[in-house]
């Protein structure tokens, strides 16, 4: 047991020495590894973001009815109540024209041109709208037909249905395109990492060939020779995980408001990719570490094999 402890300590010490002696090579490998991890993480977050956007859109509005301009609020409430009482309707929410205008203003708060245009219009151009969520997506058609009957004809300007379906489908197509590009990029970067790690370790082994030769001569076990190189690779991997985490989180924090405005505007509690990353830090860092250590150990084992016949 003490022998194993002593040997482990020596292997670790040799690994640290190797890292230090080949400092520039080690740094180059760390940088490439870090880039791969950052790429992969962004791909991961893109996926999360994509499915979140899809969810919101699916939930958002599948069916809406815009009211005619001159319908009183009381009348609107009655109709909303009427619809809400249906068994196949899960939720019916009214956004009045004033509310819609307010939201619109808030969304374009930093656009002076829009502000200007709104002021020039004497009347609120936005209609009051009833947003309906069905208990079951298959019931939308029935609800839509009901809204188009004569009963509601005097109040309702138009029934908007099916629009979001195409948007969702288009979005899925775009998402899978982005995902494929990201995947290809990741694979390319990962192969680069393997090749660079591979060569780094081969160079390191080359500069240690005398020592390796002598180690074999005096009866070092293969693990004693191999150990430091593998540990060095793992150190590079873990260092890359740390660096990429320190890059990733601030970047996510910075882009989060932009992302929220773009994808989730108008929501009371918009999805935050930064909070997601914070609350899922174990998964994010765990996956990064798994990928990095896997790549590192794989390439170092392959690189060393031929020196240990």
């Amino acid at each position: 047991m003490t022998m194993i402890k002593t040997s482990s300590w020596r292997i670790l010490r040799n690994a640290l020495q190797n890292f230090q002696r080949n400092i520039w090579l080690s740094l180059a490998t760390t940088i490439i590894m870090t880039l791969t991890l950052i790429m992969t993480s962004f791909l991961y977050f893109l996926n999360v973001l994509g499915s979140e956007v899809l969810n919101t859109i699916e939930e958002k509005v599948d069916l809406s009815a815009t009211f005619k301009d001159d319908i009183a609020e009381d009348q609107i409430s009655i109709i909303a109540e009427d619809i809400r009482s249906r068994a196949d309707v899960q939720e019916a929410r009214v956004v009045t024209s004033e509310q819609a205008l307010e939201d619109f203003r808030a969304r374009h708060a930093d656009d002076p041109f829009i502000e200007e245009s709104l002021r020039e219009l004497e009347k609120n151009p936005l209609p009051s709208t009833l947003f309906i969520i069905a208990a079951d997506p298959r019931q939308y058609q029935t609800i839509a037909s009901e809204l188009e009957t004569e009963r509601y004809e005097p109040f309702i300007e138009s029934v908007n249905f099916e629009n979001s379906r195409t948007v969702i489908e288009r979005l899925i197509a775009v998402m899978s395109g982005v995902r494929n590009i990201g995947l290809v990029t990741t694979v390319v970067l990962a192969s680069l990492v393997i090749m660079i790690m591979f060569n780094t370790i081969r160079l390191a082994i080359y500069s240690f060939r005398e020592e390796i030769d002598i180690m074999r001569l005096v009866g070092a076990s293969n693990w004693f020779i191999r150990g430091p190189f593998i540990i060095e690779a793992v150190m590079v991997a873990l260092l890359s995980v740390i660096v990429s985490t320190f890059v990733l989180y601030p970047v996510l924090e910075t882009i989060n408001p932009e992302v929220q405005r773009f994808f989730f505007s108008g929501q009371a509690e918009p999805f935050s990719i930064y909070s997601y990353a914070l609350s899922h830090w174990t998964t994010v860092i765990g996956l990064e570490a798994l990928l990095a250590v896997g790549l590192a150990v794989f390439s170092s084992l392959v690189a060393i094999r031929r020196y240990l016949r």
Binding site: T6, E210, I214, A220, N222
Partner: protein, 226 residues
């Protein structure tokens, strides 16, 4: 006891380094192996440290058939068989002390054990006062003594010396041979491969002569003849 029975080593179809060598070396013996370059001296030693595997025959060291040795057992064999070379094979960036300590570290010796043993071994080869010197600050003879000290780190049963005096002048050569005799007297079996006739003749010990991979003569207290 080391015993070779019918050992052959073929490098290619027509080039045999050793042919049907049968040889018995009792524990504690001092054997000079002589012969021209290419006679198979180095191959014979490499078979003993499992650097090479024989094509035919078996080699048994104290009942251990090392021709059947598993890959993972090789390091254990090498800790029982010390080797020294013509070109010393020392680590240039380590002192004499560290070179010897390195071999012990590799074998998993405790730090305290290393601290205690290395000076003793260096004293045996008469280099204690140069323990902190680097190989390039030493003479050829001194470097060879460091390499002997390293080979002794595990207290091996067998010491293989492959042309240890090849790079040394007569005076230093004799110095090294004296040291090998001393180590032999402490109980280690020594196999000395050399073509230095002065050394062999002065030793007055067993001489095995190889020619074209075969044993052509094996004499007690022999002399160098080709």
């Amino acid at each position: 006891m080391i015993s070779f029975s019918n050992v052959s080593k073929l490098y290619s179809e027509d080039g045999a380094a050793l042919r049907s060598v049968t040889l018995k070396i009792p524990t504690g013996d001092f054997v000079s192996i002589v012969g021209q370059s290419g006679a198979g001296k180095s191959t014979l030693l490499k078979l003993l440290s499992a650097e090479e595997r024989p094509s035919e025959g078996s080699i048994i060291i104290d009942g251990w058939d090392i021709t059947q040795i598993k890959k993972w057992q090789v390091p254990y064999l090498r800790r029982q068989v010390g080797v020294i070379f013509q070109d010393f094979k020392l680590l240039p960036k380590r002192t004499a002390f560290e070179n010897v300590a390195f071999a012990m570290e590799v074998g998993g010796a405790k730090t305290k054990e290393i601290r205690d043993s290395v000076p003793q071994i260096l004293k045996l080869v008469n280099l204690l006062e140069k323990a902190e010197m680097y190989p390039n600050e030493m003479s050829g003879g001194e470097r060879q003594r460091v390499s002997i000290a390293r080979a002794l780190a595990y207290k091996p049963q067998i010491l293989l010396a492959d042309e240890p005096t090849g790079n040394l002048d007569a005076l230093h050569s004799w110095d090294i041979v004296q040291l090998l005799i001393k180590i032999n007297k402490l109980g280690t079996t020594v196999l000395l491969a050399t073509h230095n006739d002065d050394v062999v003749n002065a030793l007055k010990k067993r001489v095995v002569t190889l020619s074209k991979g075969q044993v052509v003569s094996d004499q007690e207290a022999g002399t160098y003849k080709l």
